[in-house]
């Protein structure tokens, strides 16, 4: 996992938890369960991540702990800074640089320049893997009974569209590379 990716996951969890706390105070286990439910369990969280995130947000003044209940659980509530932070998050579009999407592009760029790498094979291996992902996603989308909730459907659709976009891009790469090798036969494909 690269640093940029780790950071973006960390920020998503942070904002996700804040969004839940905006609806009222909650303790760690509740937050974890609701986070997983609303993302269709695409982001399994461990309870340690939840408490680490909560204590950092407490340090940053975004959440405040309440009293311990009789079972020893502490419910956290959102502060006004936290509310402002989550509102800002909803209002700000995510830019490309925040997305950990470029590893594949870098891999292909490297494959094109590195000697002795069969680029077509790299493309095909990725295509097969991504298609398998798309098949699994489609299967979860159609196979579930009762039908998925709105939030889970949107998450699943997002992943379906991402897989689709990646497959289209791979098709484009393949077409581009084969045209290129016809025009410049001496250049390494």
């Amino acid at each position: 996992m690269n640093t940029e990716y780790a950071y973006s996951v960390f920020m998503s969890i942070r904002h996700g938890l804040l969004a839940l706390l905006r609806q009222g105070s909650r303790h760690g286990y509740q937050l974890r369960a609701e986070f997983e439910a609303s993302t269709g369990a695409t982001w399994p969280l461990n309870i340690g991540q939840v408490y680490t995130t909560l204590s950092r947000m407490e340090r940053d003044g975004l959440v405040a702990p309440g009293e311990q209940d009789e079972q020893g659980r502490i419910a956290y509530s959102i502060t006004s800074d936290g509310r402002a932070e989550v509102d800002r998050w909803f209002a700000t579009p995510i830019t490309q640089t925040e997305r950990p999407r470029d590893e594949l592009a870098i891999k292909l760029a490297m494959a094109v320049t590195a000697p002795g790498v069969d680029v077509a094979q790299v493309v095909q291996a990725q295509r097969t893997a991504t298609m398998r992902t798309l098949q699994e996603l489609t299967r979860s989308k159609r196979g579930l009974d009762p039908p998925l909730g709105t939030a889970q459907t949107l998450i699943l659709d997002s992943k379906i569209f991402q897989a689709e976009a990646e497959l289209r891009w791979l098709d484009h790469c393949e077409a581009f590379l084969s045209r290129r090798s016809l025009q410049h036969p001496q250049e390494k494909q």
Binding site: Q124, L134, Q135, E136, E164, R168
Partner: protein, 251 residues
């Protein structure tokens, strides 16, 4: 072109333990001659399709996708190799029997499969059954059942021009599905439909596969290939890879 040959279609080999194998291609090649050039549209392609399976074929244009579909459907003949459909070697079938097999067992869905404008939706769907010699009343009953199955019962009496693009395509699919179709061949069946209407078409084909038909789908849309149990990638007439849902490796 209407073939009135009424020789019995070979019965589905019910006693055969391998009967769920609907299509079997073994080392199938197709060579076209263009002037002095030999064009290898398919090179030693082997593929099996079982009852209940939806297989998608993907590949760049000119990779042999449509040739493969046409050969499976008996619309084109292999230059070499064996093509078995429902236990029948297509190469050995006389043209009349091939035509009977095509007409009664195989359903075709094409992008530009036009409906006949002067016939209503239900009449369009009935047509192939009537050509098969089925009585009008029974043909109408079957056509209504299929239209109901795909959610178009209310539109049965409408003419093609009174339907949306998505509805017309679904009627065309109903026409391909009516009767006992064990094998459904679909070449870019979603055409220019939007993704929601395209998903409806795939849901239909998927339901047919789940009900026991073998479905072979040619598409360039990854989104629709995602519905398949197996996706076969063709390049330059050869299968280069395949992706099977639920398997760690398809190799």
């Amino acid at each position: 072109m209407i073939d009135r040959d009424l020789s019995p279609v070979p019965p589905a080999a019910e006693e055969d333990p391998g009967r769920d194998l609907v299509v079997e291609l073994a080392d199938v090649s197709r060579v076209h001659v263009e002037g002095t050039q030999f064009v290898h549209a398919l090179k030693e392609v082997s593929l099996e399709i079982r009852a209940g399976e939806l297989i998608a074929v993907m590949g760049p244009s000119g990779s042999g996708k449509s040739t493969l579909l046409n050969i499976v459907g008996g619309l084109d003949r292999a230059t070499s190799g064996e093509v078995m459909v429902e236990g029948e070697l297509l190469d050995l079938l006389p043209p009349s029997r091939l035509a009977a097999l095509r007409r009664r067992r195989v359903g075709y869905v094409f992008q530009d499969l036009n409906l006949i404008p002067s016939l209503t939706a239900v009449e369009n769907v009935m047509l192939p059954r009537e050509l098969d010699g089925v009585r009008t009343g029974k043909a109408r009953q079957e056509a209504r059942a299929v239209l109901g199955e795909i959610g178009l019962a209310d539109l049965a009496g409408r003419f093609p021009e009174e339907l949306s693009g998505g509805q017309r395509q679904r009627v065309a699919i109903a026409r391909a599905l009516v009767g006992e179709r064990r094998l459904i061949l679909a070449d870019e069946p979603t055409g220019a439909l939007d993704t929601a209407a395209g998903d409806d078409i795939l849901r239909l084909l998927r339901a047919r596969a789940d009900a026991g038909a073998a479905v072979l789908l040619v598409t360039h849309e990854p989104r629709y290939a995602g519905w398949a149990d197996r996706v076969v990638f063709l390049r330059d007439g050869q299968i280069v890879d395949s992706a099977a849902a639920g398997l760690v490796s398809a190799r």
